[in-house]
Structures are given as structure tokens and as C-alpha cells.
Subunit: 451 residues, 2 copies
């Protein structure tokens, strides 16, 4: 006889992150067929439930899994390979030559590593923009991670390249349509200064035709704004508006260098923003003007960006840095409270990716994407306030259990769907071969880990 | 027959943090009677050593323990109890009323918790400024943590209070002189706007008479500068210079609001700075002008500040935030490279506290204060560059072993000198009693962890 429920979480402090920001101090969650079918206070539990798995969450905090709204998964392979360099040097002499040598298997392995790290940090959904997305898809479906995948399209005005990029995206749409259990597609033109108007319009049409979200890098650097202005005589945001690209399905990453008209256009078109504070600071790109976004009531989600410009995929560090940088720059302790930052990392991420009916909060009927945090450990103790604990004290290692789509992926930090040690061995092998193929003089002295 | 050595660490990648910033890719360290007696490459090991403890550090990174140059240990008890508030509200309505009810045992328990967290994060030395330092001393000596302890003195111009504060400090000096195995004293007047000139001068004299370092909060907020200017018609730094307080033994914490003359005076007197980026951002105090310090060649150490304005004691998060904030604000990726930030958190901290001949780097003859980091774990893998790994990827949980004064305090994250679970129980009990004594209406709804 089969069990009535798949998972029963009991005795938990639950941050629902629902509209009312309800906190249940001693609560339970019942999961069945990938979904939350019951959630409430322990006192409302009247009968004993027949479940496959039971998790006693005494001294634990239960939250919706984090949603990482901007990432380039397979760049895990380049973690720390070239830091503290001017952006142009970093890209031209290190990242691009390496990416030019990336093969399918590298993206598979790099994505496996990214998904493992994200699950370890309580992230259950993440948005990718990179190459070899077939392999990215395979890695995530194997682990059981909810990926929103985009083949990064850029043509620099080259028509043949444009056709190839669009074909790649269509292939990904087909693959996901036929095979996906968890993953979905996001149409992903790279940036206004790397994509022709034709490509941007094709991307927009794909988004409309297939009813899919759309992402782009926008106004990340001052240089990008200058470039677009020199060609189109308007800002990148206005350029996108002029060609009819801005829409409510769009997630625009970074968006640091905007003027008043740009903010107005973003709001008017209900564009969502993937804010990446670590990457913006680490690469010296600039600091997003939080006050402007607040005043214009624009939705901000959070992303780590790729692990080569970060160098980790911790959403906890990301939301913490958002709190610190905006408080500090504005000398205002109230500008971004802990609970607002946690919203950015959960429900706002879901909204940005068009998944707000599925994920981002713990509510009856939503997918069971859940992270369970240990509150009884020195670095967060005493846990006077659960929001403060997440935003200002804990680190990724305090995540004990991660559930995605009603399936326990990691419990007590042990993975159920993947061999972590084997993945690290595969990563090392992939890097040895990649560096061998690339054969770049600039890495000869820099790579110490193979010694 | 006794062993020749106490600890033998082998097969380690070692960041010495010595003057030459030497990295030993496959090295060893031999420890005896609290000190490093040999350090070098495995290939130079000619004979088998007879040691009590042997640590195979294959796939590990060995670094000098971190030095936290500014802290208020027992504020662990207030972690997350009141966040996202204006500074004045936070202090007046939450922190001060709680501190007014702190008893000796609270400071003992709070310090135990702080030391456990610091050891878990690879910190081996930290500087305190707080109350009930006898109990702070007892807690640290029991755990085996290298504390530099100061009774925070403030008199607001009250002569009786001044006398009491000086007596407390003298008592601490006596206690440490007679009983200390590890801890030392730092003379600790609180701030220019909370101490009379008489108290500042008595503090300076204590520092000279007993040959002890000296610490103070300085130019933390714009308001402090205004206050001092309104009384003395000069900046806080110039006020301290005018009374003859500035000296090379002084560690000044924060130092955000300085003018050109202030920087000149700091440099001229060889004052050391405890930079606390997290606290400064989280409390909206401001952002230290890193370029000015660099241009004036002033020594910057790093501190977490108290765990109520942070809310953790991670030196890794602290040095990371220093890298990010200064790169971001200055839009300069090269301004503070990873290795410079790690210097701030190790050897510069030692220099700030006058302990540079004892700790801060891994060198023959120095105290064996050592942290061992696991490099073979997803969140830091691949560890292409050890400095980058520390500064941008790892978190406190990647610290596997912490050695202080030649003694293993934590190994594989298990403590040898303290019962962590028991400490958490003691913390909870202390807080229940403290909140009961304080009986403050403003905490009634805020404290969720006792529910």
C-alpha cells in the first residue's frame, strides 16, 4: 500500500514568505506529488499521517528555496582563475580564451558543480545564460534542480551567427518541451551592444510565440551606455524601448547605469530586474541606485551572476551584500530590511521568472521547493529573529536539507541524487584537458591547484 | 618517553603570509612548546619525526589564524535582537537597556559563544572592549583562545566613574599578569566623545607605564565629529593629538570621518586602524576612504566589531566585504587584491596589536596559531588560486582545524576544549534570565527563538 504523503515536515519554524509574510512558529508541511498539499500550525494537526519521509524540524527554520535570477553555471570551472584585474583584461585575456575552448562535457561538469553548490546553499531554482544548454539541461535534470535555461545569443551583427543562435534556442525549446521534468526555457539575447536589432526582435518573437520569459544584460557598465549612445544616440534602455523589446516577460540583469527616463520605461513596461551586487562590486561595474528602484516601485530579484565574477553561488551572501551596500551607501539602516532582501531572493525571483504561481513562497498548492536551516549552531545562536539570522548571520553550511519539486535532494548535507566526490574528480579532469587545449601562457604560473 | 614534537602538519599548501608572501605548495610545519620550530617544503624533510599529533593536510590550505582587531565578544547574546533600526534607536532603546542588565555570568557565556564561533572561522586572536573582563578572561583561557582584552572605560566627565574605570583596568592588568597563559591586556578608553580628557590621559599613562597597547573608537560617525567640534573646535583626531594621546601603540577603530589633516596625524603618529566594513555599512555609519589610507600608507587591520552590529564574527566575510566595497565604490578592481585583504586579516592585525613578533604569519619561531582549510569541497572548487579562494569563495565552515598556541582547539570541526552543545544551553538560559531582569516591553514581540 502506498503512503498518503511523500514528505511530512514537523515542529518547524516556517517563514512562508506569502503575501502576509506569515511566520508559523511551530508548524508542519505535507508534500505529495511535488507539491505542498498542507501547511499550518502543529496544533491544527488532528490525525497521524502516513508518509514516506518524515523530517523533525525542531530547532530548524524552514523557508522557500532561494531563486537565483542570474547566473552562468558552468563558469564554476573558472572560479578564482583570474581575479582583481581590470574588466577588459579579465574578459579579453582570461575568460574569452577559456570560453572559446569550452566543450559540451565541460558545461555538463561545470553545471553539475554549480547545482551541487546551489543545493548546498538552499537554492532550488536558478536562471542560466550560457552555451551547450543541452548538457546544462541534462546535468540539472539528473540532479533534480529547477533550472530556467537560456542559450546566450549574440551575433555582433553577423547574419549567419544570428541564424545559428536562433536555431540553438529553438533546439533547446524542443528538447525541454519533450524531455523536461523540472527545467524550463528563457529566451536569452546577451546584451544590447552584442546583439543586432534583428536578433533582439527575433528573441522577442520567440518569447511571444512560445510564451517564454526573456532575459538580457542591460546597463551593466558605463562603457556599454557610451557604446549604444554612440550608435543609436539613446541609452540602452531607450534603444530597447524604441525597437519594442521591453515587456513584462523581461528580466534585465544589472541595470546600474540608468537615467530617469530609463527608470520610467522599466516601470512602464513592468520589466523585472536581476540585481547582482557581488558581481557589480567585484568587477568595479558600479552600484545600483536602490533608492531609484524603490521610488519607482520596480521589482528587484537577486542573482549571483557567474561564479567567475563572484566567486561563489551563495544567495545568502548575495542578499546580505545587498543589505549592507545599500544601507552603507545611503547611510540609511532602514532602506533594505532583512525581510525585504529575503523577498528579493525568493518570491521576487519567482515573479521575475514568471514562476510566481509555482514557487517562491511556502503555500498550499505551490511546488515543494524548500530549504531547512539549522538554528542551533554557534554562528547563528541565539536566533532571536529568523529574518536577521538569514540576512546577517548564517552561511550556506547552515542549510541542512534541500527539497526540490517534492524530492529530497540533500539531507543532513548528504546528496541523494549525485556523487559529489566523483563530480570533483570530473571537474579536475575537465580543467586539465581544457587548459591543455587552450594552452595559454597567461595561466602557466597562476594555476596552483594542480600542483 | 616524550615525543620530540607536539604537532606535525604534512603535505600542506601553506600561505606563510611572511614578508615575501611565500607560498609552499607541498609543505610541512613542526610545532613544539607552542611554537613553530620548523616550516618548509616536504622535499626538505630528511628524517621521520616523532610527534604526538600528525595532521595530513593533503588537499588542505594552511594559513596563519585570523586576527580580529576589534570586537565586543559578549554581544553575541544580542545577535539579531534588533536590526534595521536607526543607530540612535538601536542603541538607546535596545542595546543600552540590555547592557545595563548584563551580569558577570552573561559576559562569561557570551564570550564562550564568541570564542567558539571565532575558532570555527579560523580566528585565533581577537581584541575585545567590553565589561566584566575577568569573566571574559576566564572564558578565553578555558577554551585556549588568544584574547587581547580591554575593559571599556567611559566616564562622560564623571570623576567617580573615571576612578572606577581605571581601577577596573588595573585589576584586569593584575589578573592577566598573574594568571594568563594566552591573554594580554589592551588599555581601552571608549571614544573621544564619551571620555573626559582626564580619562584619556590616564589611559595613555597606563599604556606607557605597563607597556601595553591602547585602543579607542574614533571618527565612527559624522555625529561624533560634530559633537567634538562643538566642544573643542577641532576634529576628534586633532583633539586626541592636542592632548598627546596619539601614538604608535594606538589601534583606532572605524576612522571613517577624517579630513586631510587627520590622515596626516594618524600617519605621523603611526596609529593603526581597525577597519570594520560590515558594522560601518550595516549601521549606516559611512564608508572608510580606502584610497586615502593607501595614499598615506597607513596600516589597516580588520575587525568584525561586535556580533550585534554585524551579526557574525567571520573574518572571511569581513575581508571579503572589504574587497567588494572598496572595489565597487572606487570602480577599481585592483585597489584591494585578495592577498592584501588577507594581510589585513592576519599580519596587519598582529602589527596593530603589537604582536607581530609572535603571530600573524607562519614562520619559524612564531607561535603556532594556525587555521587549516578544506580545498576539496564544492563551494571553493576548483581552488585555482588560494588567495582568491579565501577572499571570494570559502565560508567559515570550510575551516577544518584551528590550532592556537601549539594546541589543537578544533579538529575536523570538533572542539577539544569545550562542550559546544552545553554552551548553547547556557546561552539560552542566560538570555531568558537577562530578558526577565530587563523586562523591556520592546522585546516582547521581537524574540521568537524562545517560542
Amino acid at each position: 500500500m502506498s503512503s498518503e504523503y511523500d514528505i511530512f515536515i514537523k515542529n518547524a519554524q516556517i517563514l512562508t514568505m506569502n503575501k502576509e509574510m506569515e511566520i508559523i512558529d511551530k508548524g508542519f508541511i505535507l508534500v505529495k506529488n511535488s507539491k505542498i498539499v498542507e501547511i499550518g500550525s502543529m496544533t491544527d494537526l488532528t490525525k497521524k499521517h502516513d508518509t514516506k519521509e518524515e523530517i523533525d524540524a525542531k530547532d530548524k527554520l524552514v523557508i522557500p528555496g532561494f531563486v537565483n535570477s542570474h547566473n552562468h553555471f558552468a563558469m564554476t570551472l573558472f572560479r578564482g582563475i583570474a581575479d582583481d584585474l581590470p574588466l577588459k583584461d579579465w574578459l579579453t585575456n582570461y575568460i574569452w580564451p577559456l570560453e572559446g575552448n569550452l566543450e559540451k562535457n565541460d558545461c555538463y561538469i561545470g553545471t553539475m558543480l554549480a547545482a551541487i553548490e546551489m543545493v548546498q546553499g538552499g537554492t532550488t531554482t536558478a536562471c542560466d545564460m550560457y552555451f551547450h544548454e543541452t548538457e546544462v539541461f541534462e546535468a540539472l535534470e539528473r540532479i533534480g534542480f529547477r533550472g530556467v535555461l537560456g542559450h546566450g545569443m549574440l551575433d555582433f551583427g553577423n547574419e549567419e551567427k544570428r541564424k545559428n543562435e536562433v536555431t540553438e534556442t529553438k533546439n533547446l525549446i524542443n528538447l525541454v518541451k519533450n524531455k523536461a521534468k523540472l527545467c524550463s526555457v528563457i529566451i536569452s539575447p546577451h546584451a544590447p551592444n552584442t546583439c543586432s536589432v534583428e536578433l533582439l526582435l527575433e528573441a522577442k518573437k520567440l518569447s511571444e510565440d512560445f510564451n517564454l520569459p526573456l532575459q538580457i544584460h542591460l546597463a551593466e557598465t558605463e562603457k556599454e551606455v557610451e557604446e549604444i549612445k554612440s550608435i543609436y544616440n539613446v541609452t540602452p534602455t531607450q534603444h530597447l524601448q524604441n525597437i519594442g523589446f521591453l515587456c513584462k516577460e523581461l528580466v534585465a540583469a544589472h541595470c546600474i547605469w540608468l537615467n530617469q527616463e530609463d527608470y520610467r520605461l522599466i516601470k512602464q513596461n513592468d520589466v523585472k530586474i536581476a540585481h547582482n551586487p557581488t558581481s557589480n562590486l567585484k568587477l568595479g561595474s558600479g552600484i545600483l541606485n536602490f533608492n531609484q528602484y524603490k521610488n519607482h516601485d520596480i521589482l528587484l530579484a537577486l542573482g549571483t551572476d557567474g561564479p567567475s565574477s563572484n566567486n561563489n553561488l551563495s544567495m545568502i551572501e548575495e542578499l546580505r551584500l545587498a543589505c549592507y551596500i545599500h544601507k552603507g551607501v545611503n547611510r540609511n539602516t532602514e532602506i533594505l530590511p532583512a525581510e525585504e532582501a529575503i523577498k528579493m531572493a525568493t518570491i521576487n525571483g519567482a515573479k521575475a521568472l514568471g514562476l510566481q504561481d509555482e514557487i517562491g513562497s511556502l503555500e498550499k498548492g505551490k511546488k515543494a521547493d524548500i530549504a531547512i536551516i539549522n538554528k542551533k549552531t554557534p554562528n547563528v545562536y541565539p536566533p532571536h529573529n529568523p529574518y536577521s539570522m538569514i540576512a546577517y548571520a548564517m552561511n550556506d553550511s547552515n542549510i541542512k536539507t534541500t527539497i526540490i519539486n517534492g524530492k529530497i535532494i540533500m539531507n543532513e548535507r548528504k546528496f541523494k541524487t549525485v556523487d559529489v566526490s566523483k563530480t570533483l574528480i570530473d571537474v579536475k579532469e575537465a580543467i586539465i584537458q581544457l587548459l591543455d587545449r587552450a594552452n595559454l601562457e597567461q595561466f602557466k604560473d597562476k594555476i596552483r591547484f594542480l600542483k
